[in-house]
Symmetry: D2
Subunit: 337 residues, 4 copies
């Protein structure tokens, strides 16, 4: 940490700052410029992490040099992490595609969707059993019944299941039916749930919060890893900006950022990320070109009848066509699909 | 709802759209313009709320006319709601001030803070027992021990307690110690917790999410009211924007927006809203001038020693001075403090 | 400036960084932490301002300590600047109100508006002769004809004129008719125009760009002052955020920020800042409570017939009522109106 | 346009609204719902474009159905426009790469850069002669001298020149030296300059404003086309969001949006779009995969000595490597490079 003294700070102010730091067993280095003195602070990172110096007389501001997260950082774990989801590997040389309807609506719908996406090459079945909805009057999902359908249909087609968890009390029951527990954007900083997921044996897919910085996102993953669960993957799903043409602004530079800062895999969700069906294919291609490890795509056998998010769901035939094209992009970045 | 057909829509597309709507017992009105036909949709609001028409052939887009929330809306409840917090009334003619430290750190700190803020005119003691922190390595609060201290000290000074709830499992224990349960920005769309708070007898203060729209915020309150708890107040605490000089951008026009759209009271938090001590006083004045019903302000007896948010906490003497000034602003808008 | 070396930087990298800095006659101070070395850079501010160190091997990032602006800064000019607009003083103890229609539409409209706002207490007449409009097919203003009407009507009612300049070629003609030249949000970083305004004798009102940071705004004012024109006032008019209920998000904390960082006056525009007529009054009150020196408000004698921005314009009778109320708020912050 | 009446509107309000619309030769269609009446407005688009109805008694809000731009719209011009830049075609099957330094610093630097980028496959030389800089004390470019160097060096290597115009007075001189006139983000809504560029014979590259919506961007291009210049290309260069890890947030979904809404070509600038050298390559790949027609990339022979933006400039050897890789991505989307 660096403490920047104000131009009007007195010698006494400076002495007090140094004294306070030394009383906490931290070392200091002074740089006296023409207008300001700058104090470099060196020592135990945990003590520095909790320092609050800006209230002291003569202090203009402080600048943190190091991030607080550690386990998720590539600095501490240079090689890529590959997560084994019951045989399906995420983070390696093969791009994995998760697909299925936004919400589980019934056996027939789910089976039809699963059959189509499996045939096109998807390995993981997605579908919401618990749906976080803006309005209390919107369809809230089938709950445990939906989980059971997901498991049944996934097994039928030899697929894995990813589905969203919205309450830490549900972890146990979800572990019985799902292979990946998805933390939604609205819960990215539901810290109690993150801590509880740190004790789970299941891989966690952590979606980026609606307006989460890269740093906050990495720290959220740190909560899970600090609890002991090392199988965390990120999922970029668009951030909130002033633009209204798209539902969210899909931030593909986040893929490059995560690859630079962390060893964990990253998934991209072009369906929620854009909210517009015609954009799903180009953004899927772009995500792979940017370095994503996996995609999660909404596919509904009859999107015009969907109970939620119909206008961002692909039809099976569009998904099939997209998958055929993605192989070439994957090849261009040295991967397979 | 209005369905806008695309310029290329065929007569058959239009017939299909009308058929689908009529099959759901909705009525339609067609307006044929030079380029586009527009279909007005009339009927049961709940059915309309769940309509997904954008996947149908020939449909360009749909425009929703009405919001989904109802109980929180001023349309359905024109007069202002006044919430009685065990004798302290929020939403009426008297502006209520909640004050205290960001986090409860110990008996002495809390007592010193409470004494100071009570003397200056605050009626409600604030302080976090459970702290949602970006990093797992930051101070997470004293937990139940903190709740007990809050109750003890508030009773000593004849004050009420407002404190944050971070897990729906804590509702019962918190009801024993707190008078207002605060939902933090990160949990504004933790819908399971909102539903559970709908069953609580305690007033709830719902902070605006970091990037929540006014509409999402009202819908989040609707979750609580739909559960049966009518004592909900909003709290504007700054939104996330591109600006970095302030910690958040305090959106005081949200005060006017809430007053226009809802009958529920609104509190303003200038401490988190700006993150800078010198801004707390001007923004407190502005909040009252804009029509806020209450303020929640961080005051720490020794901000330079605070375990969190020291640089946005007022010292007791600054808080005292601010309170003296606020009376004049209150008077200018026809209120007292 | 501080140069933060990466954890993997070699001793040679560090030596090269120091050599480069010393070759530019800058001095360095090293702080060696457990993981990183930090290099403090001291010396001529102009040289430091143009330093680009992040491309050098071993450099993780750089942190700038000081802002580049100087003439606008309160550090260099502690006392408030009061701008004398031909007898009307902005930045002093009296709050000045500028009012009038969005666009000059004709003599009758302007005269009716001027009469009403003058009677209610406004001292400066606003009105656009050149209108920057999103679409080329929107009404673009009356041009020089509008300027002449503004001057004529202002003189009739003993008022001053503020109006927007959209092209640096217009400076000379505008100086003949206007008392304050307004730089609109879309031109805040039209640097050629700012430089030219630095040579003008007329006061300039610099509106904040749609997504300008406080720092960029101050630097834009620095362009004008660096040219020799010391009469610059800021105007907060709302920033662009994700919120759509209001046209922009009026950032009243910017008032406090400008007062802290600069000696120049600040005006608030609640009409464009909210885009909604019912919000103009509460936001005007809040602006004064936050410390604004002046307000600029849209008033149209017949807003339902306005050629632009009718839905944010006050009617004369509403403006009259607002002005009566503002006096009490002004008094509460020790000012008059 | 649709006029939504408020639930409290009287029959008289409705009659007045209809009368006003009919007095302007517009036709109306009423849809009476349970709570609200909705008025569909049909007729001359130009008249509707300028309607301001929200001030009328009983009107809750209005909803515009159609955008105002026309010439840039794919609706009116379904096939892709290919711009011929003196033999280099942008918008067709071949992806064009523009490359060179951020600012022209001198003959040697420019020649070294041009040689490198030409060899790697770039066809257009970029470089700023006029630099819009946040601070007046930053390097402002070499001006006409820089233009001459650009022309000279481009001719030497058989390249075309793209460079930024910052003042409409410079159009004539720039036309003598440049092949594409670039409008920077800060001038996207400098409408006087856009109008003047409508009269130019040179192709224009219109960068997206820092916080411009897709709709505003299309309307800005409409200004140029409405003046008679049909050779307009868009350039996505990142938008301003809350994220600070990257300099801007590169919005690649804008590529898909422009392709859907317009027939004009789109260029992507991954250098300014991210501000970080290691992200330029993955974002270049992603841009092509998303459907971009061209890229503009900063390359500096010695980025550690650059006078601006060194930390986002590629070294020649990195650019060479990138170009080799881009061919495979282009092939995967059916194009060449």
């Amino acid at each position: 940490m660096i403490v920047v003294m104000s131009p009007n700070a007195t010698q006494e102010d400076l002495v007090n700052v140094v004294k306070k730091l030394e009383s906490m067993n931290l070392r200091t280095h002074l740089s006296k410029g023409d207008e300001r003195t700058i104090v470099g602070v060196i020592g135990d990172k945990k003590i520095i992490a909790n320092l609050e110096m800006e209230m002291m007389a003569g202090v203009e501001k402080t600048v943190r040099i190091t991030e607080k997260y550690k386990l998720v950082s590539r600095d501490f774990h240079p090689q890529d992490t590959v997560i084994d989801v019951d045989g399906v590997k995420i983070g390696g040389n093969e791009i994995v595609v998760m697909a299925g309807p936004c919400a589980v609506e019934g056996l027939e719908q789910l089976r039809e969707a699963a059959q189509a996406v499996k045939k096109a090459g998807a390995k993981i079945l997605r579908g919401g059993a618990y749906k976080p909805r803006t309005s209390p009057y919107d369809f809230q999902g089938l709950g445990v019944e939906g989980l059971k359908l997901l498991r049944q249909v996934a097994d039928e087609f030899d697929m894995k299941v990813v589905t969203e968890i919205v309450d830490r009390e549900d972890i146990e029951v979800m572990e019985n039916y799902a292979d990946i527990l998805q933390v939604g954007a609205r819960n990215m900083q539901n810290f109690q749930m993150l801590k509880a997921l740190g004790k789970s044996k299941k891989p966690v897919m952590l979606k980026r919060g609606l307006s989460a910085t890269i740093s906050e996102w990495l720290n959220a993953a740190e909560y899970i890893m600090a609890g002991g669960n090392e199988n965390v993957m990120f999922c970029e799903r668009g951030i909130r900006t002033y633009e209204t043409f798209t539902r969210n602004t899909l931030d593909l530079s986040a893929v490059a950022a995560i690859k630079e800062l962390s060893h964990l895999p990253i998934v991209v969700d072009p369906s929620h990320g854009t909210g517009r069906r015609p954009m799903v294919a180009p953004m899927s291609r772009a995500a792979i070109a940017a370095g994503a490890d996996a995609l999660i795509i909404e596919v509904h056998p009859h999107p015009e009848k969907a109970l939620s998010d119909g206008n961002q769901s692909l039809k099976p035939e569009d998904f099939q066509k997209l998958m055929e094209n993605l192989g070439e992009i994957a090849k261009a970045v040295g991967k397979t699909i």
